[in-house]
Each structure stands twice: as structure tokens, then as C-alpha cells.
């Protein structure tokens, strides 16, 4: 069978987080920094879902393939999935706010380069 599913998911998620951190640290354009932030966000979601996987488990939805009685024995842990829905919404909100700040910064400075924005407000 090779690598277990949760291991593959964990590696993918952590790789996404690393790419995002690199994007934030190496790029000077605010939009690219925001994209890096979204990548970190997505990576964390993948990692969170991966930690909910139980060997041999299936989606926690009762249907013809998964009876009411054996749900507790055959389904994966539903709690990380429920938490990730919350996390996705919060991640979307943060991205939206960051993008609107970026637009306002561009209006004020006519540039998206973070090195050009050096003045502190207080």
C-alpha cells in the first residue's frame, strides 16, 4: 500500500505551509504576500483534516454504504472537519480584509512594494 493516506496529506499540507512562508518572506509585493498567507491557510486546513483521519475510515455521512449502527466504528473523526469549515470562513474573511487594505494602500502610495511603505503612523 505504500505511504498511509494521512501521511501523504500531512506532507502535502506542510509543504504548502512552507511555500507560503517562503512567499511571505521572499517577496516584496503585497499581493504576493497575501497569496503566501492564503497558501499557509490552505496548508493548515489540509493538516487539520489529515489529523482527523482514522485508518480505514470513510466520510462521516450515513447512507447505503455506512449504516447507522457501524458509523462509530467505520467513519473518520468528524470534529476536525467541522473545525476546518470554521477555519475556511475565517481565512476567507482575513484575506478579504487584507486585500481591501492592499487596495487602499495602492490608492495612497501608488505602489504595492512593501519596501516603499516605510513611514510609521505613530
Amino acid at each position: 500500500m505504500g505511504l498511509p493516506v494521512s501521511q501523504i496529506l500531512l506532507v502535502t499540507g506542510f509543504l504548502l505551509i512552507l511555500i507560503g512562508i517562503w512567499g511571505i518572506l521572499a517577496h516584496r509585493n503585497i499581493l504576493r504576500i497575501i497569496i503566501g498567507f492564503s497558501l499557509i491557510d490552505t496548508g493548515i486546513h489540509v493538516v487539520m483534516v489529515a489529523t482527523g483521519y482514522v485508518t480505514g475510515g470513510t466520510a462521516p455521512i450515513i447512507d447505503a454504504a455506512l449504516g447507522k449502527a457501524d458509523a462509530a466504528a467505520n467513519a473518520v473523526d468528524p470534529i476536525p472537519s467541522a473545525l476546518v469549515v470554521t477555519a475556511i470562513v475565517i481565512g476567507f474573511s482575513v484575506t478579504a480584509i487584507m486585500l481591501s487594505f492592499a487596495i487602499r494602500l495602492y490608492d495612497a502610495k501608488k505602489t504595492l512594494d512593501i519596501d516603499a511603505i516605510t513611514d510609521s503612523k505613530w
Binding site: 517562503w22 455521512i61 450515513i62 468528524p78 467541522a82 470554521t86 470562513v89
Partner: protein, 229 residues
Amino acid sequence: MKRVCAILAVLMFAAMFLGLVQAYSERQARSPLAEYYLTQVPRELGAPNVVTGILITYRGFDTLGEVAVLFMVAAAVGVLLGSKKEQRAKTSSTDGKGPSELVRTGAEVILPLIFLFGAYVIMNGHLSAGGGFQGGAVVASGVMLLILAMPASKLDHGFLSVTESLAGVLYVSIGILGIIIADGFLDSHVLPLGKFGTLLSAGAIPLISALLGIKVGAELSVVIDRFRS
């Protein structure tokens, strides 16, 4: 120098993550809380989708807070981007080229399907993968396509905010109704459970799902429309 520091930081994170991955062994058993949810959601709430049951009933208060966060984001984006409207309108009208015929005709064919699929995802949240947030996001992506294909179209913000507020008020009233006739705030037992696995079952969960879908769809549409400069 900066680049070296960045590489160093990424490498250190990589080492940390490598340790985490190597030490992680796949779980063989569910936690007691997960087992409780997996048995109680189908039995007590009558919802086949355990995740939706957790989100809307057991963690209903959390979901209400999430919707409040979305509302605040819509308001904040409005404050940040809404003030200089006239100037924005001027800049956007100058680069006059509209979308290609392909996009416009494609949008006319696909848009109804996207909205239909959004409604389907919203209404089947308690039966299969889906729910209010997901369906609302699908509807908002349809609105995004509408904005891209027909840049001249105007979204009626007044109508959207009234719809959204009504959905929010109804959502909270269902929650308060839960205190009065069921076991607590946002308890889904205010409506009869119905037959397991049918569209109108699982108490108030489909209703709350639909309200959430309307609210999220309207809020995301407003946010997307604000970004159109």
C-alpha cells in the same frame, strides 16, 4: 542577506514539520467525543451528515459567531472600499474593452446551473456533503461570473442587505425558539425529526442551512462586488 535569513527560517520550519510528520502515526481509534457525535447525530438529530449536525446544532453558537464575523467583514470591506466610489467609477469606464463573446454567452448558459447547484448544495447539507456555507460560496462564485461577464450589471446592495438581515434575524429567532420549546439555544428539535434521510427531516437543520446559505451568499456577493473597482 535578507534572502539567506528567509531560507534559514523556511529550513527551520521544514525541520520542525519533518519531526512532526515522522512522529505522527495514523490514528487507529476515534476519540470518545467523536464516537458520541457519530452515534448521537444520526439518532438524536436525524441528520445523516454528522459534520453538518455538529456545525448547526452542537456547535450552533459557534456558527452564529462565524456568520457575525462574515457580516463584520462585509461591513469592514464596505468602509474600506466604499468611500471613493465616483473616482473608481471613472477609472473603470476608461479601459473600455468588455468581456469576450465566449465569456458572455458561456455565462448565460452556465449561470442558472451554478445558482441551481448552489441551491442544491444548500438544501442537501444534512443529507450529503454540503451545507449553508458551501452552497453560499457556490452562489457567490456565480455572482462573480455575472460580474465578469456583464460588467455593466449593478448589484442591488439594498436588497441584498435586507435579505441578509432577514435571514440573520430568522436564524436567531429559530435559536431563541429552541430555548422556549426545545432544550436550548439553537436546538434543532423545534421541528419534528421526520423520516431519516429525506429532504425535509432532521428538525430545523435544513431550515437553518437554507438561512445560512442565503446569508452567506448575500454577504459574499456584497464583498465580491465591493472589490469591483
